[in-house]
Structures are given as structure tokens and as C-alpha cells.
């Protein structure tokens, strides 16, 4: 599923100075901390991050890859607060460990989307001409594939597993970044001071770095935040077909995908990974919305 891309208007901005950017960032951060739902999102993410960082330290005696045939599908007990899964793994500890994999999956996928999408979008919008035409058609073509289908085809070709899921999900998010950055680049190109710089023969690379990047930073951060949630959802979708992250890596999509075979036997195995995913995506959406409100006050509702 795609989120609609917010429109940003940067035409009125003057070329920002270094110090100004710094100040804007600090102000934005302060504003974000006053944004109630964004703070709620940040709290959830902080809890997850804490689990990801500290969980494996606190429960260091637990090995998530450890499987115990004599302890499969146990009901909740003081020993295993959420019971055990079909491999005899402790469901709760798996979820704790899983935050590490799921969060990094979302993060890395977006790194791919940004890393490929931003330069392509910038080139497409700024240079125009053949490059633009080519990149635009490529974007259209990619958008014609529903992203779960694109991701699935990529995973079928590359094979399942954490690394390939990151690639597949990341690649399927590229067109969204291209579109966003392209429209920004088109506008930047027409800014009077940019036209002047071009006329003076300032190299394109420098114009892009100095003028385009600062202008697209805000919308890209917003989109990236929202896309992290989406990446986690797509990865979970792959898990449904058994082609997502593979056990014993306790990624939440993997836990959910495995769990759905045991939905009658132990609904916990479906409910809790699903809730973890839901709250992660929710948090990214809340923070993304907050960022949008803060970074582009025009769109505040």
C-alpha cells in the first residue's frame, strides 16, 4: 500500500544559510516534543529501541536460536509469560529480540529507498530531458506493480532471509522517493537564485548539494519515517507466504508468519507479533505526521 505523498512548497524559501538550518532543526525538535501524538510515537519507538539494545543484554542467557522440541507450543506460565512457539522458543523473549531485527529491517530498507530514490529523483527533476524521461518511465513501471508483488518477485528471485527481504522491501519503496524528490527538484530548478547560479556556471553537483538537498531534507525525512512503517508491513506480508525473514531469526513478521499456522492452537502467537508490528507502524506514522506538521507548518491540521 502506498501512502500519498504530501506536497511541499519550497518556492518561497530563500537559500538557507548553515546557521539558519541549525536553528531551524533545533526549533523543529522542540516543536516536535510539544506535538502530543508524535511524542506518543517517539515513546513507543524509544521502548522498542530500548528492547532492541538492552533486551539481548538483560536476557543474555537466552538464545533466540535455541529450539527445544520438548517445549513446543506451551501455554503461558511464569516460566514463559507468553508461552512458547512451534520451535519451543519463548515467545516473549523472541518479541524482545525481534525488535532489533524488525527495526533495523525498516531502517535499512528505507536507507535503500533514500539512497537510490533521492539521487535518481534529483537527477530526474533537475536535469530533465532524457534522464528525466527514462527515470519517469522506470518509476511508472515500478508503480504499476503493487509493492507486495514487486517485493515478492524480488524475494522469489533472491531467496528469502533478512538481507534479501531488506533489499526487496527497500527496492519497492524507491519510486516513492523518486517522485517526491523529483517534484522538489523541479521547483528548485526554477528558483530565481538557482537560475542565477546556473547562469553563472556553478557546477550542477554544487547546486544540487547546496540548494536541493536542504530543500528536500524535510519532506524526505517525513516520507522516510512513514516508509519505515510501510517497510515493516510489507516484510510482514512476505512472512505470510513463508518467504520473509526466516527462523530462527525472530523478526516480528517471521513470528507472525509462523504463528498463523498455529492460530487455533495458540492465538498468542498471532496476536502479539501482530500487535508489536501494529504499534511499530503506528509509532512511525505518528512521528511522521508530527514531523510533517513541524517541518511544514502549512500542512498542519
Amino acid at each position: 500500500m502506498r501512502t500519498s505523498i504530501p506536497a511541499f512548497d519550497t518556492t518561497e524559501l530563500a537559500p538557507p544559510a548553515e546557521g539558519e538550518i541549525q536553528a531551524v532543526h533545533e526549533a523543529a525538535w522542540r516543536q516536535l516534543l510539544r506535538h502530543r501524538s508524535a511524542v506518543a510515537g517517539l515513546v513507543v519507538l524509544a521502548v522498542y529501541a530500548l528492547a532492541a539494545l538492552l533486551g539481548p543484554v538483560v536476557f543474555h542467557q537466552y538464545n533466540p536460536a535455541h529450539q527445544d522440541l520438548n517445549a513446543v507450543l506451551l501455554p503461558p506460565s511464569p516460566h514463559h509469560l507468553l508461552g512458547t512457539d512451534n520451535y519451543g522458543r519463548d515467545e516473549l523473549l523472541d518479541l524482545v529480540y525481534g525488535s532489533r531485527y524488525t527495526l533495523s529491517l525498516g531502517l535499512l530498507a528505507v536507507v535503500i529507498g533514500v539512497g537510490v530514490g533521492v539521487p535518481l529523483g534529483a537527477a530526474s527533476g533537475y536535469f530533465g530531458g532524457w534522464a528525466d524521461l527514462l527515470i519517469q518511465r522506470l518509476t511508472d513501471i515500478m508503480l504499476a506493480f503493487p509493492n507486495i508483488v514487486l517485493a515478492l518477485a524480488l524475494v522469489a528471485a533472491l531467496g528469502p532471509g533478512l538481507k534479501n527481504v531488506v533489499i526487496a522491501v527497500g527496492v519497492s519503496s524507491i519510486p516513492n522517493f523518486i517522485r517526491l524528490v523529483r517534484s522538489e527538484a523541479l521547483k528548485v530548478r526554477q528558483l530565481p537564485y538557482v537560475e542565477a547560479a546556473r547562469a553563472l556556471g556553478v557546477p550542477s553537483a554544487r547546486i544540487l548539494l547546496r540548494h536541493l538537498i536542504p530543500n528536500v531534507l524535510a519532506p524526505v525525512i517525513v516520507l522516510a519515517t512513514l516508509q519505515m512503517g510501510l517497510a515493516i508491513l510489507v516484510a510482514a506480508g512476505l512472512g505470510f507466504f513463508g518467504l520473509g525473514v526466516q527462523p530462527p531469526t525472530p523478526e516480528w513478521g517471521e513470528l507472525l508468519g509462523e504463528g498463523h499456522n498455529y492460530i487455533f492452537r495458540d492465538a498468542n502467537l498471532v496476536t502479539f507479533p501482530g500487535l508489536c508490528i501494529f504499534f511499530a507502524v503506528l509509532a512511525f506514522n505518528l512521528v511522521g505526521d508530527g514531523l510533517r506538521d513541524v517541518l511544514d507548518p502549512r500542512l498542519r491540521t
Binding site: D140, A144, P146, V149, L152
Partner: protein
């Protein structure tokens, strides 16, 4: 107007050619031998070879490609490797299911989303607004198939109210359509709320209210009409992503639509079927984008295309 439509349609041609080429390449990049998949593990190598020949897979790639494009120009999508019947007929028999599902879901999404959005906007900063805003962000954060499974557990297993799978009873559509709608409900509610708020703050609305026009009428006649533009865009965009959501939803609910057919076809390496379906998705995507743009012009006469 007409020239605009024609121009848009002409631009669509290279895109479709690109999609066709892209899906052709994608299909061939998938590892696996379609002939072996069709023949099964017990078949002899001769039979596998025979099937490969029948599917034309023993031809060089460029011949396969030219053949595919040539057929496409004659609007012939070829024969499904898995079913052995024409791709077009196969797809045509599944389309009604997906359209029924998507249209129902969109209808649910529009009705719930727009009314919730209006409600939130006119009761801004009240508990109602808070609840609606919260629910709508919940909606867009929900893993589709998890929601589907949860609904099955609740409504099909616990209380036996609704069927869990299939499309043979008229009530079958309720759970999958609702599952599919949830994401869009959230999104449409958010957009509606946002654009309604913007419009409600405009001078002419204030004027209308000051003149004593009933609030209800102001909202529905003046405000909604003017807030419609972003809502339409969202709905248009949603229709495309809805087709994507249909892939998962149809699988969870064993719904015999094109989404599930596409997934199955990838797993069967049914190249012609994958090609046909992806082209169908692309055409739908392009057509809906165009329709959305045209609707714009209708709703907002200031927009002109020439």
C-alpha cells in the same frame, strides 16, 4: 479536453511497453523451470521437454519476447502455462470478484472515511475528533493480513457469524471487504478532516454562516464540495493501492480474484499469466490516474486541460 485525454493515452503507450518489457524480464529472472513445475516431479524428462516446447520456452529469449509483444499488439495475452487456457479468459473470470471486493471496500472506505473526517473537522479538538483521528491512524498502521486473521478468529471461529473463506455466499464479501477497507478508511478520514478544516476556515464559509445558512447545508454543500479535490485524489490513489492490498486479502480469505491469481502465478512460474496480470494492474493504474485528473476538472472548473 479531448486532446488532453488523447495525449495522456499516447503517453501511456511507452509506459505500457515498459511494463510489458519489465514484467517479461522479471518473469525470466525468477529461478525455476516452468515446464518442470507444470509437469510435476514424477514426469519424465521427455514430457518436461515436450511441455517446454509447447510453452515456447525452448525458443531463444528474443524470439519469446518478440512473440509476446507481437501478440500483445493483437491484444492476445497468450495461453496460461498453468491452466492451459487463454490468459484473457482466465483473468476475465476472476475480475468480477476483485472488482466486487475493491468497489465494496472503496464504498465502505468513502462512506466511513468521509463522514468520520467531516465529523472530526466540525467537532475539532473535541473528544470525538481525538477518537476519530486516533482510529484513522490505527487504520493505516494495521497489517492487513493480521487484521484479516483476527477478524476470522472473531467472526468466523468464535461466533460463526460470517464465512471465513470463499466467495460462495453473499455474506462472504463482508470480512475481506472490511479488511481491505480499513487502510483506506483511515487515510480518507485524515485527508477529509484536513481539507475540510482548511475550507471551513475560508471567508466565504464564515460569510455563509454569518448570513444564517443552516450549518448542515454549509458543510455539505459549500465546504464539502470545495474540500473534495484532495479527497478525490486520495480515493483515486487508493484504488491503485487497494489492488495491491487485494493480493494479501484475497489470499487470507481464499477469495478467487486476480490478486490471488497473480500470487499463485508467480509461485507456478506461469509467465503468460504473470505478464497478463501485471499489465492489467498497470492499465488500471494508468486509467484511474487519468480518471482522477478528469474528475478534478469536473469538480473544480478552474482547472483546464488544453
Amino acid at each position: 479536453m479531448l486532446t488532453y485525454v488523447v495525449r495522456r493515452l499516447l503517453v501511456a503507450i511507452p509506459t505500457l511497453w515498459g511494463v510489458a518489457t519489465g514484467v517479461f524480464i522479471m518473469a525470466r529472472l525468477l529461478p525455476g523451470d516452468p515446464a518442470r513445475v507444470i509437469a510435476g516431479v514424477l514426469a519424465t524428462p521427455e514430457q518436461v521437454e515436450h511441455i517446454r516446447h509447447q510453452l515456447g520456452l525452448d525458443q531463444p529469449l528474443y524470439v519469446q519476447y518478440l512473440d509476446f509483444i507481437g501478440r500483445l499488439l493483437r491484444l492476445d495475452l497468450g495461453v496460461s502455462a498453468h491452466f492451459g487456457s487463454p490468459v484473457a479468459a482466465e483473468i476475465a473470470s476472476r475480475i468480477p470478484y476483485t472488482v466486487a471486493l475493491a468497489v465494496t471496500a472503496i464504498a465502505i472506505a468513502v462512506i466511513l472515511g468521509v463522514s468520520a473526517g467531516i465529523g472530526a473537522a466540525i467537532r475539532r479538538n473535541t473528544p470525538l475528533d481525538l477518537v476519530i483521528s486516533a482510529l484513522s491512524v490505527f487504520g493505516i498502521s494495521m497489517p492487513v493480513y493480521w487484521l484479516g486473521l483476527m477478524l476470522i478468529v472473531l467472526f468466523a471461529i468464535q461466533v460463526h457469524w460470517l464465512p471465513a473463506a470463499g466467495a460462495d455466499s453473499p455474506t462472504s464479501i463482508i470480512l475481506p471487504a472490511f479488511t481491505l477497507a480499513v487502510f483506506s478508511v483511515g487515510l480518507i478520514a485524515r485527508i477529509t478532516r484536513g481539507s475540510m478544516l482548511e475550507v471551513l476556515n475560508q471567508d466565504y464559509i464564515r460569510t455563509a454562516r454569518a448570513k444564517g445558512a443552516p450549518f448542515r447545508r454549509v458543510v455539505l454543500k459549500h465546504a464539502l464540495r470545495n474540500a473534495l479535490l484532495p479527497i478525490i485524489t486520495t480515493i483515486g490513489l487508493q484504488f491503485g493501492s487497494l489492488l495491491g492490498g487485494a493480493v494479501l486479502t484475497e489470499s487470507v480469505f481464499s477469495w478467487p480474484g486476480v490478486g490471488r491469481l497473480l500470487l499463485d502465478s508467480i509461485f507456478f512460474r506461469d509467465y503468460p499469466m504473470v505478464q497478463g496480470l501485471v499489465l492489467l494492474f498497470a492499465v488500471t493504474y494508468i486509467a484511474i490516474n487519468l480518471l482522477t485528473d478528469l474528475l478534478y476538472a469536473y469538480v473544480d472548473p478552474r482547472i483546464r486541460y488544453d
